[in-house]
Amino acid sequence: MLVYNNPLTLDKIKEVTGLEKRRSRSIINELISKYDDDSRPFRIYEIAGGYKLGTKPQYSVWVKKILENKRKHQISKAALETLAIIAYNQPVTRLEIEKIRGVSCSGVLFNLLKHKFIKISGRKKALGNPLLYKVTDFFLMHFGLKKINDLPKLSEIGIK
């Protein structure tokens, strides 16, 4: 977990250690509760379908100082809107996004692709075979989600 760039999945653990998924999960859960309880500045986060070590939020003040206030990715409102539409409707075409937003999204999509928040998942079998977009694991990591289904249902955030 310390050296692996992506969230460590149970499959990857099995591939490396040969441990059964169930066993790995129970060990990781033990570690999670152990790190949560003591005064260590880090804990294990279940994120983007895997596990990753990260600092605890209460230590962010010092971490920010070490990193000289280097800010993480700040996503614009337009990009957030586009991401929200993709996440709830994926796979989705540019035209479908633009229909909801009412403005052109080419630039926003290009930037989201560039920063790996979204990926091309294929082409729609429709006139002109438009490209389909999906959110990536990086998106899940950025917003601290375990999987895409962890996004709340629209009714849960007060939408009828």
């Binding site: 809107e81 991401l83 790996k116 629209l154």
Partner: protein, 264 residues
Amino acid sequence: MNNKNIDFKIRTSDLDSYVNELLRNIKEGIIDIEQVPITEIIDRYLRYVIQNKSTIDLSIAGKTIAEISLILKIKSENLLPKLEVKTSEEEDGEYNDFMISKEKEAYLQEYDKFQKVVEYLKEREGTQNNIYFPAIENNDKEGSVEIQKVDLADLLTSLEKVLQNKKKEDYILFKKRTFTTASKMKEIINLLKCGKKGLSFDYFMERAQSKLEIIVIFLALLELIYLRKIRCYQNKSFDKIMFNLKGDALKLKKNQETIQDGAI
């Protein structure tokens, strides 16, 4: 007797004309019907008829009455609330406007929904901003670089060379086209699954029977690169342009190899 009717002239403060002239002017819109004192005209005409009843020709008097009645009809119709009769086209237009506004409303509602999702995502982003993960030098080029040391210009130059080297066809044989970009994409994936070290650009081009096929193969290669199914690279400068599988296609290949190994 005709003169008797012609003698009847409407004289008010605003009008000075015969009945038939008045009707014509009203129809042509010269005189505003609102300004015509119809009851006064009827009263005067009735008095005129009574005064001249012994000499008046009833058929001509009747004609004037008909004209006055017409003026009366026009005036009463003018007083009624106007009923707009719409053509089917206008109705269609209105229906479409209604549907468009409904559609817009639906989209606005949909847009508003996502505003709440945006707020939710912002909130999550704020929380996540206080969590830091170890920064590791990113050596994982998966998903980020499709073309290594090769750009589109190199590919186009290679295509141009292949097309130039292709012998000019003296005659064109009309054949049913049996390939499409999609079929070529499948073919390329299958070929790359067999070629362990990757296959060169020339290898694909040599398989083509015609210029059209060359172009279709080229398009299929570009599409596969765009969809991140294959990787395009050069081992050193001026070396052959090579292709191999990546991403999902590679996983599929690994799975197949595992199955084959198991079978052996």
